[in-house]
């Protein structure tokens, strides 16, 4: 490949990519937007931890416990470096969804917390601003917070070519705005949003900003500090890491005064029957036994990605996306939803085929060994916006190559033939 990524060598690290599906077909995995596959290095790191150092984290004083603490906190530090923030500003969650819920519930809890939490209180008259292209994870928790507190939900619309309509930025984000929650990169149409600009407007009016970085951190170099957001979330399983672990970033100053969400062991300072005081962050937000081996695995994933180089990952995916968009444009009856040029755009490519329901198209692709996702991809409002009930989505990662793109295009033609359309 011209971008210098040795995909064949990388693929050898991913055992699952060597398997076949549906009667011996080569697996063409184009569903990394849903979940990525894991390289041997991540599996090995987790196993080594479990076979040599496993113990309860932050609760023990024996040697295994010391080693487990060190592995867990070491992973936090490497992740922090990976996204350009301090280790104390990262909270381990079970997935990105929990991270967003954490912030939404903590805000809801501020009303009955101490005076230090005053700035987090949400109530009637307040507004929360999202976008029409959010994943349900960054929409429903805010709907629910509004329902509980009486705040009002507002949102940015989406243009016909799948970009955020920011023409009313100053009308939407105002002194009434408490939170602006935006995806950094759409998991459906691939659009990369100008989060820094929106966060800056939020800062101007005193609103908290939160970036859903689920689809950006795995695929490009992200520096959360320079992005200027107050919070951000991402998930381990989408970036070569284990399932069951995600990350919430919060600016130190905010985490220090924000009320807790989940409560229980390890997040306390002192506990009495009638009251409890809480530990400093990040511990305050990590109740219960943590996903220790998963954090270790995620640390190894970050090491793996760093060795490859995030700029090269992004460049590589860019070339695949370009090829896919070009190829799709050439097939009659295929319509890409969202940006049709690979500008400010990541590698999630969603499309519809005239006369074939996405579910049926996906079935034919699956029969050819091509794993894509069909449906609304947890972004139902965005699909409504484009007047389609569902789409077919192909999403790329560092282990995909131009052959995979060619397989996808061939598969679409096969589907058209099978259903006698196009």
């Amino acid at each position: 490949m011209t971008d210098g990524l040795d995909v064949a060598a990388l693929r050898a690290d991913f055992p699952i990519l060597g398997r076949t599906v549906r009667d011996g077909k080569r697996l063409v995995y184009l569903d990394s937007g849903a979940t990525s596959q894991r390289p041997r290095q991540v599996l090995d790191a987790e196993r080594e931890f479990l076979e040599q150092h496993n113990a309860a984290v932050h609760r023990g004083a024996h040697q295994l416990a010391e080693e487990a603490d060190e592995a867990y906190e070491g992973a936090r530090s490497r992740l922090a470096e990976f996204v350009g923030v301090d280790a104390g500003e990262l909270v381990f969650t079970k997935n990105a969804t929990e991270g967003i819920n954490l912030v939404a519930y903590a805000l809801g809890n501020a009303a009955t917390a101490g005076p230090e939490a005053h700035r987090f209180v949400v109530g009637e008259g307040d507004e929360i601003v999202v976008t029409e292209m959010e994943h349900h994870a960054n929409l429903v928790p805010w709907q629910e917070l509004c329902k509980r507190t009486g705040a009002k939900l507002r949102w940015f619309g989406v243009t016909d070519d799948g970009r955020l309509d920011l023409s009313n930025l100053d009308d939407l984000v105002t002194e009434r705005t408490k939170v602006v929650a935006i995806t950094q990169q759409s998991n459906v149409v691939g659009t990369v949003n100008p989060v820094a600009r929106i966060a800056a407007r939020g800062r101007e009016v005193g609103a908290l900003s939160i970036a859903d970085s689920c689809q950006s951190v795995p695929h490009s170099k992200v520096d959360l500090r320079s992005l200027g957001v107050d919070f951000a979330v991402f998930s381990g399983h989408k970036m070569l890491g284990p399932s069951g672990v995600g990350v919430l970033y919060g600016r130190r100053e905010l985490l220090e005064t924000m009320p807790p969400f989940l409560t229980g062991g390890s997040m306390i300072e002192s506990v009495f029957m009638d009251h409890t005081t809480f530990a400093a962050p990040p511990q305050r937000f990590e109740a219960g036994s943590p996903m220790s081996s998963q954090a270790v695995g995620l640390g190894a994933a970050v090491d793996y990605l760093s060795v490859v180089g995030m700029d090269r990952v992004a460049e590589h995916e860019h070339s695949l996306t370009e090829a896919a968009l070009r190829g799709l444009a050439e097939i009659p009856g295929v319509r890409v939803i969202g940006p049709t040029e690979a500008v400010d755009r990541g590698g999630a490519v969603s499309f519809v085929i005239d006369g074939i329901h996405p579910h049926d198209a996906g079935q034919v692709l699956d029969d050819e060994g091509i794993a894509v996702r069909v449906g609304h991809h947890c972004a139902w409002p965005l699909h409504r916006r484009f007047g389609v009930p569902a789409t077919v989505r192909a999403s790329f990662y560092l282990y995909n190559d131009l052959d995979d793109v060619a397989s996808l295009l061939d598969g679409i033609r096969t589907a058209q033939k099978f259903f006698r359309v196009g």
């Binding site: 329901h357 579910h359 049926d360 079935q363 069909v374 449906g375 609304h376 009930p389």
Partner: protein
């Protein structure tokens, strides 16, 4: 290619030329069902007279499997007794949940036997059952019993 097993001609025919499609009056009960994974939807109405399913009308969007199975459903139940409709439903559900191990009875399921291949694809079973779930729900709302329906 296993696809032919799944997409029998009968299914594609019902998909392209659905029977009894459209929402009609009068009706006794209506049910809206959605498959949250893929967004497929169906709105289905039943009209029951005495013990007889007099009409089933529906509207919806979805894949060939969900649309065709709803079309077949109307063939199977309209004009028959509610009891027979529910036992047909049980047979269809059993077929779909049988992972390809259940031998369908053509006398009971008629065109419905075409869905036997779908039963091998767990993710599509829900598609095939979408209309039936709406029917079950609508019959229950209309006062017909769905006891014994799994």
């Amino acid at each position: 290619m296993q696809l032919q097993q799944m997409y029998q001609e009968i299914i594609l025919d019902h998909y392209k030329n659905p029977h009894r499609r459209g929402l009609r009056e009068p009706f006794d009960a209506e049910s809206f069902q959605v498959n949250p994974t893929c967004g497929d939807e169906v709105t289905l109405r039943v009209k029951v007279s005495g013990d007889t399913v007099e009409d089933v009308s529906y509207e919806g969007q979805g894949c060939s499997i969900s649309q065709a199975s709803t079309s077949v459903l109307t063939d199977l139940v309209v004009g028959g007794s509610v009891d027979k409709a529910l036992s047909t439903m049980d047979a269809f559900i059993e077929l779909m949940q049988g992972r390809g191990q259940v031998e369908p009875d053509e006398d009971v399921l008629e065109d419905g036997i075409a869905f036997a291949g779908v039963a091998k694809y767990p993710a599509r079973v829900k598609c095939a059952l979408l209309g039936w779930m709406a029917f079950k729900d609508a019959v229950a709302k209309s006062g017909g019993s769905t006891e014994g329906a799994s």
